[in-house]
């Protein structure tokens, strides 16, 4: 499964992304499970709001963290996220 650059990306309505105060982490919640996220993964997923395409997510994050060359890492993570059903494209 790979990310289609021409389609927007949105977080799955069948999962929930939320900040856990007790763990000081963002987590993904779904039936019978929980995934703890590191900060960069959480930052990427928060931009998957159904309005942005891949290139927009990359440029927003590069701007936010004043850096460049994030495209490969972000794409690789989003492919994992798509495979796990955390995000959708349509």
């Amino acid at each position: 499964m790979s990310i289609n650059p021409d389609l927007t990306i949105k977080f799955s309505p069948m999962h929930r992304l939320q900040w856990e105060e007790a763990q000081q982490k963002d987590v993904i919640l779904y039936p019978e499970g929980m995934v703890e996220l590191n900060q960069s993964s959480a930052e990427i997923l928060k931009l998957c709001d159904g309005t942005r395409k891949l290139a927009q997510i990359v440029s927003d994050l590069e701007q936010k963290f004043a850096t460049s060359g994030l495209a490969n890492d972000i794409t690789a993570f989003l492919e994992v996220a798509l495979k796990n059903g955390w995000i959708q494209q349509n």
């Binding site: 007790a22 919640l29 019978e32």
Partner: protein
């Protein structure tokens, strides 16, 4: 309160709220205690709200509303709303019996995240027989309604000798109903299932064949349906890592307010499980005798205490050791290193003999009459 305060205690993450032991079904493998009819008292709405608030503050985030049948509680929607306001991810674990479209909508609006429906078999005749109640058609309708209203749908089928031959049909039913998750739970032999073990435990051949069918299906539906396969530990060489370790992750609150490190712990002697009416969740989790009883490794006997796998499976299940060999400190007899491992083969042989017998005794269904006569 009694007990020691150990260091390195991790906070609870999963809370199982057993709202009631009342249930319209009579499944003969029910995980409620055999003597449930003795424990009639139920926490009130304010007690439950306090429990949810206290556990959430400690870090519990996954919440199961269970029972019995949680739909029999009049305050279910109010509790779901309270849980959502606190930030829980909540699950209704239900037979589906009595669940209407109106209630499904009301619970969605209150903030329920998902619904887990149990179906007992793939055919109406067998499902209604196992449930002890005509419920199969209604359960299937409920499954459609759960999907229609945008919940992730978890279908749970408990597997045993009466339905294991239906594995292909059970998988086809899950696909037809559009399950997002399918829990294939091989029966765990505690409580009612222990009492009915000779009639429920499949043979090794049956189990291996069914497992192969389930594994092939898992690959076929990868990406569409997620399968949770609960192994039948009687056919394993090593015990399950029960509850992810005692008092590390899971907290169960029984209908009467008793706090349990696992839902069978009530059956263990001398634990003095505390009640949420007397103590806060923080006191119970951190300080109570019951929750500290099997924390860490100091309680272990040989062969567990010197075993290089003890950090992987924690010596297995305490309730199973107690139930099968009468010693809750012993290695789970499922482990091939246990000096008592032979009891597992004896159980398997006994079940096989029962299956081949001409006049097999009937199943003991889970109901108040049987509960009272067995306890």
């Amino acid at each position: 309160m009694a007990g020691s305060n150990k260091t390195n205690i991790t906070p609870p993450r999963w809370l199982l709220a057993e709202l009631t032991y009342a249930c319209p079904l009579q499944c003969p493998y029910c995980s409620n205690p055999i003597d449930y009819a003795k424990h009639q008292s139920e926490l009130d709405t304010e007690d439950w709200k306090r429990v949810l608030t206290q556990a959430r503050k400690m870090g519990a985030v996954q919440l199961g509303f269970s029972g019995g049948e949680p739909l029999t509680r009049k305050d279910l929607t109010e509790l779901v709303k309270h849980a959502r306001d606190l930030g829980y991810y909540s699950n209704l674990i239900t037979s589906g019996y009595g669940l209407t479209e109106e209630k499904i909508i009301q619970l969605k609006e209150a903030g329920l995240d998902h619904i887990q429906i149990s179906i007992q078999a793939s055919s109406q005749e067998l499902s209604d027989h196992i449930a002890g109640t005509a419920s199969f058609q209604h359960k299937k309708e409920v499954a459609h309604l759960v999907k229609k209203h945008g919940y992730p749908m978890v279908l749970c089928v408990v597997i045993h000798r009466e339905n294991i031959h239906q594995m292909p049909e059970i998988l086809a039913m899950a696909e037809e109903l559009g399950a997002d998750y399918l829990e294939l739970a091989n029966t765990q032999y505690y409580g009612w299932a222990h009492a009915n073990r000779d009639l429920l435990l499949p043979t090794k051949e049956q189990f291996e064949q069914a497992e192969q069918i389930a594994q092939d299906f898992k690959e076929k539906v990868a990406g569409k349906m997620k399968i949770y396969y609960v192994v039948p530990d009687f056919y394993e060489d090593r015990p399950k890592a029960c509850m992810n370790g005692w008092g590390t992750t899971f907290l169960t609150i029984a209908p009467d307010g008793m706090a349990l490190p696992c839902h069978s712990a009530r059956e263990l002697p001398g634990l003095d499980c505390p009640n949420v009416k007397d103590y806060s969740i923080e006191q119970i989790w951190n300080e109570s005798k019951a929750f500290n009883f099997f924390r860490g490794y100091e309680w272990m006997k040989e062969p567990c205490s010197s075993c290089d796998e003890k950090e992987k499976d924690f010596g297995g299940c305490r309730c199973q050791a107690y139930l099968l060999i009468g010693d809750m400190y012993a290695a789970d007899p499922v482990c091939s290193k246990s000096p008592n491992h032979a009891v597992i083969q004896e159980a398997i042989d006994s079940a096989r003999a029962s299956a081949l017998a001409d006049n097999e005794k009937p199943l003991i269904f889970r109901n108040s009459k049987n509960s009272r006569s067995l306890s």
